[in-house]
Structure formats: C-alpha cells, structure tokens
C-alpha cells in the first residue's frame, strides 16, 4: 500500500506543475461543457482531446484524459436540468427532480447540486478504485445473467414509485417502454422484430433521441397547448444564481456515500453502466427516504442520488478496464483505446508492469473531482443565467439543440424523426396520465433486461427452480424485488381504499 501511495504522489507531483495544472483545469472545463452539449458524449470528448495528449508526458496524458472523461460524464446533467434534455441516458433520472426545481427558479441550486454530487460520486469511485480494485473484481465475476436480470429488475422497480396514485397506467407505461426496446434486431438471434420491412427501424429505437423527444419536446409542445404554464424566463436573477451550500450537501452525506458505493459497484458489473446505476440509486432512495412522495417534485436528494451514482459508476467502469482489460461501457472502451495510445497496457499485468500508469488513472479521477468543485461554482452561475432569457427564445434554443443533439450522435436524419415521434407520443401520454419517465425507464433498461432474462432461461436447462437454487445472490435479489413490488402495490391499494377508489 505504501508503494501505491508513492505512485499516487508521483502522479500528483507531475499534475501539480503550473502548466500541467492549467491544462488539467482546461480539460475539466472542456469536459463539462462537452458533456453539457446534447449528442456529445464523454466518448466524443475523449476523442476530441486525444490529439492534445500526443505531445504530453504519458502520466500527464493519462490523467488529462481521465479528467476529461469524468467531467464530461458530469456535464450530461447540465442540459438535463436546464432544458429537460438529458445529455446522456444516465442523466434521464436527473430530469425527474432537476426540471421541477428549475421551474421553481432554483436553477443555480439544482446545477450546483448536480455538479457537487457528481464530484463526490467521482471522488468516492476513485477512492474505491484505489483501495479495492482486486476484491471488487472477484465479487463482480460472480454476477451472471440471472443476477444481472434481477439488478435490472430492481432498477425497473422505480416505476411503481414514479406515480403512486396511478399505478396501473405507470406499470403500463413501463411495459410500453420495454416493448419499444424490442423494436429492431433481436439482440440474441438477430431476427427483425416489429420492423415490417423497414430498414430504418432495424437499428431499433435509439435511446437518446427518444428521451430528448419525450422530455424536451413534450415540455415544448405543452407550452403551445397551455401557454404561460412555465415560469422560465421570468425568474429573479438573484434566486436563479443562488447555489447550494455546504450545510445542504452535508445533510445528504449518507445519501451521497451510499449512492457512490452503489454506483461504483454497479459500474464494475459488465454491461450495467451509469444508466442503471442512476435508476437504481433513485429507486433505492425513494424507498429509504422519510419523504418518498416528494421525489419527482424537485428535491435535492433526487438530483444528488442520480448524479452521484451516475458518476461513481463511470469511475467504477474503470476498475474492470484497468484490472482485467474489460471495458464496462462505450466510454470505458474509448478510454481503453486512449490509454493504449499512451502506452498503457490495461489488464491483469498493469499493476505489476506499469503501476505508475495505474495510479495516474486514479490521480486523474481524483483531480477531476477536486477541480470540479471549483469549476462547478463558475459554470453553474454562468449556465443558470441562460434561464433568465424569455421562454420564447429558450424554446427556439431547446428545439435547435434537440435537433442537433439527435443528429450529431449518429449523423442520421432518422433519429430526428424518432425524436419527433417520441415528442408526439409524449404529449399524448402526458394528457392521458401515462408516465413518460416510466416509458423512458423501460426503454433504457429493456434491452439489458431481455438479454439477461432470456440467457437465464436458456441456461436453466433443467428448469428454472433447480437453476436458481444454485444462485443464492439471484434468490436474495428476487425476494427483494418481489418485496418492493408487493409493499408498493399494497401501500397504493390502501391509499386508494382510504380515498374510496381502486388502483
């Protein structure tokens, strides 16, 4: 361990040289802004920055790329809060509480909560990575298809907490999302489903355009149907730029800690990633919280839960990458290529052959977390000012950013059509009391759920029950999920019975 600290110190001594410090801060600011632009992912931010690192010292290059990657993941929450446009699927949960908070005029508070929570999630993730890379990898390898299926189901269980007054339609919404995720090529056999001969649908319904349509366009169209609904553009600049404070963050210390740990653990699981981490932590918080009803109405805990886990997962994804050479997601895969260019041979031998490089990754993440605290104060104030503009201008900006965000991701006009379709579906569903967030949740987790469910069923050749008997983790998770659903439905039933209705 002493050696590890020595390597970490060596990495920091390189970062802390004045010119390098400037480059690192620049990287963090660039990463946050890139992440904030819809359609620009952390992966793209790393690609943009890769060329700058060719002339850098390898340690500096590695830390710089890690800082850009971490801060770009953080930036995704900014547009989710400001315009209801999630920069990444993982930021979708941030809109649940971020958007209502913005509507109340607490823009600076929401943004600073987002950025501070992200920094903490990232910091805890990096610390866990520093201390527990090896044991966590052993535990993660015990997770097979059945355990993953249950983890996703736990993430999906958040659906019943999204609108307790209308459980039937909320469950239907979640199921609709799950069904939409089946459109396109079957992930296991490659057979076309619900495409009806269209090549456009063969690639499936892309999550990002669908989410942008469901959240941003729905909001925009609602303004046409019921004008003057939103208070955006009529806000008091002093209230808008007021940030969160230490007291508020300190009051959420346990939430931040448990969601960071949860996020890191989920990030380590192959294929799970930031999205499931943010949904899972939000779901967990709605159950643990003393005031679960307030979730979704714009409370700090909602933003903190989502963003902490989301960023911790991004850090967690680096653990299987550096320890085993297995990237946990797209951004981790890009980081693997970037690190390879820097001469880092990720995998089990990294600790033995290039320990300095391993701890440079940790140093880069730690630096990004600390720098983000300072950067976030500046960025939150600047971005918050945007919402002081009249709503008509914001609407035009939202529309333009939404279109570009959809188009920029894959360079396909079809994605823009998906966004429009989702927008119209969103407004229809909103009018009929369906839950748009549940639809998005179903779509985001649908593919992962289906693949793992079908894999489990394929593996259980002697029947599901005998198979599950050998999977104790699955049984524990299954019982937990069943209990969550049972108690939530019973609670809703009681409430309805008290008010003289039915579910």
């Amino acid at each position: 361990m002493a050696e590890a600290f020595a390597y970490l110190g060596q990495s920091f001594s390189i970062i802390c040289q004045p010119i390098n410090l400037l480059i690192m801060f620049g990287g963090v600011i660039f990463g946050v802004i890139m992440g904030a632009l819809p359609g620009i992912s952390a992966t793209m931010a790393v690609i943009f920055c890769l060329t700058f690192t060719y002339s850098m010292d390898p340690v500096m290059g590695i830390t710089f790329l890690c800082a850009v990657n971490c801060s770009a993941v953080t930036g995704g929450g900014i547009t989710a809060i400001l315009f209801n446009i999630p920069g990444t699927p993982a930021s979708a949960v941030t809109t649940f509480d971020g958007s209502p908070m913005v509507k109340r005029g607490e823009v600076g508070r929401a943004l600073s909560l987002d950025l501070f929570s992200s920094a903490i999630g990232n910091l805890v993730g990096a610390v866990i990575m520093f201390f527990c890379t090896a044991p966590l990898m052993v535990a993660a390898l015990r997770f097979g298809a059945s355990e993953m299926c249950m983890i996703v189901l736990m993430g999906l269980s958040v659906i019943i907490f999204l609108d307790e007054s209308n459980i039937l339609l909320t469950i239907a919404s979640g199921l609709i999302g799950l069904w939409i995720s089946t459109i396109g090529q079957d992930p296991m056999t490659g057979q076309a489903r619900y495409t009806f001969g269209s090549s456009f649908l063969l690639a499936g319904v892309d999550m990002l355009p669908f989410m942008i349509g469901m959240f941003a366009l729905t909001e925009l169209y609602s303004e046409f149907l019921t004008p003057e609904k939103t208070k955006l553009g009529k806000m008091d600049p002093r209230k808008v730029t007021k940030l969160t404070n230490f007291k508020e963050m300190f009051s959420m210390r346990w939430l931040l800690l448990r969601d960071s740990i949860l996020g890191t653990v989920v990030g380590i699981l192959p294929g799970a990633g930031s999205t499931i981490a943010s949904f899972l932590s939000y779901s967990m918080e709605t159950r643990i919280s003393k005031h679960p009803k307030d979730f979704g109405t714009g409370i700090p805990e909602g933003i903190a839960a989502s963003e902490t886990a989301n960023n911790a997962a991004a850090a967690g994804m680096m653990i299987p990458l550096v320890a085993m050479g297995i990237p946990g997601g797209t951004s981790a895969a890009m980081m693997s290529i970037a690190l390879n260019i820097q001469g880092v041979k990720v995998g089990p031998l990294l600790l033995k052959t290039q320990p300095l490089y391993l701890y440079s990754v940790v140093a880069g993440m730690l630096f990004a977390s600390i720098a983000m605290v300072f950067v976030s104060i500046l960025i939150a104030k600047v971005f918050a000012r945007v919402l002081c503009l009249p709503y008509r201008y914001l609407a035009a900006m939202i529309l333009t950013l939404a279109i570009v965000g959809c188009y920029a991701k894959n360079g396909r006009i079809n994605d823009v059509y998906i966004m429009l379709g989702a927008g119209v579906l969103g407004i229809l569903c909103k009018r009929c009391h369906f839950n748009n967030s549940a639809i998005v949740l179903g779509l985001v987790l649908g593919n992962l759920f289906e693949v793992n469910l079908r894999r489990t069923l394929n593996l259980a050749t002697d029947g599901l029950l005998p198979y599950l008997m050998h999977r104790p983790i699955t049984i524990v998770l299954l019982v937990t999920v069943a209990a969550i659903f049972f108690f939530a439905i019973r609670k809703a039933n009681r409430k309805k019975a008290d008010s003289g209705g039915v579910i």
Binding site: L168, L169, A172, I176, Q191, Y391, V424, E450, V502
Partner: protein, 167 residues
C-alpha cells in the same frame, strides 16, 4: 372521455402489434423467446389498458359519453389549432432538413416558435433566430467538426463552402 378513447385506441394498436409481430417475426433455431418475450409484454400492456378503460367507463358521467368528438378533443379551441399547426410545421421542417440544409431552414423554424410563443417584434424574432442558428452552427461545425444536414444540389455546394470557410 378523451383519455378513454386514446387508451382504447392504444389497446387496439397494441393488439394489432401483438398479432402482426407474432406472425412476422421469424424464429431462429427453434428459439421461440424471440417473439414470446415481446408478446408477453404486449399482452400485459393490453390488459392494463383494458382494465383502465373499464375503470374510466364506470366513472364517466352519462352526459360526458354523449359529447361529440370535436368537443372531447377541443378541436375548435385556438390553442389546439396552434399545437396541431406546430406539429405540422415541425414535421415539414424535419422532412425538408435533408434537402434544404440545417443552416438555411433552422432560422425559419426558430422564428416560427419565437413568434408563436409571444414575441411581438418581428425584427427581434428574426435577429434572435439567426443568432441561435449561427451560434449552434459555429459550435458544432467549426468548433467540433460535426456534420449537420447539408442539403442537396446547389444548397449542398453552398453549405460545404460555408463549412470550409475557415479551413
């Protein structure tokens, strides 16, 4: 009543999807789960929607059931007209985007949204729409080198010249 009609139509849509999907999805090496999984989902959705429709129908007052379609969907309402027009304009914009290019078409859609949402000064509207388009265009084209719809024919040539204006 509107909710009842939409939920009913959605249930019907999902029923059609259930049948069509089951018939059109090919099975690979006898793995039925490829079409069973979505079919189970669709069945559950239909069940939820039908249950909801029954509940709604029971709660609906009899005078509500006699209202005309135009009345139910507020088809005579000005806001509904504006909303429908916005959808049509947006669809038109998306359809023309690949032909007329992002840079040429976006100021118009921005202007439409700005004016429809209450701007009274045409000059302000025009200037803001051009500024928004220019800002987004510059960030994505010159800053990030991300391609946006270029249009076709002469428009394509012009937008490409614009794209390479600064090297």
């Amino acid at each position: 009543m509107a909710e009842f009609i939409i939920c009913g139509l959605l249930a019907l849509f999902f029923l059609v999807m259930l049948i069509a999907g089951y018939v059109t999805t090919a099975v690979f090496l006898g793995d039925e789960s490829v079409r069973l999984y979505p079919s189970v989902l669709l069945l559950a959705i239909i069940l939820c929607l039908v249950l909801h429709c029954v509940q709604l129908w029971k709660k609906l007052p009899s005078e509500e059931k006699k209202r005309s379609i135009a009345d139910i969907f507020r088809l005579k309402d000005r806001q509904t007209h504006i909303f429908l027009l916005t959808i049509v304009v947006t669809i038109l914009y998306f359809l023309l985007l690949d032909t007329l290019s992002f840079v040429l078409l976006t100021p118009f859609i921005c202007l439409y949204y700005i004016m429809m949402l209450g701007e009274t000064s045409w000059l302000k509207g025009i200037v803001t729409s051009i500024l928004i388009t220019a800002a987004v265009y510059c960030v994505f084209i010159y800053g990030l080198h991300i391609r946006l719809p270029r249009g076709t024919g002469i428009i394509r040539e012009l937008t490409m010249k614009l794209e390479f204006l600064f090297g």
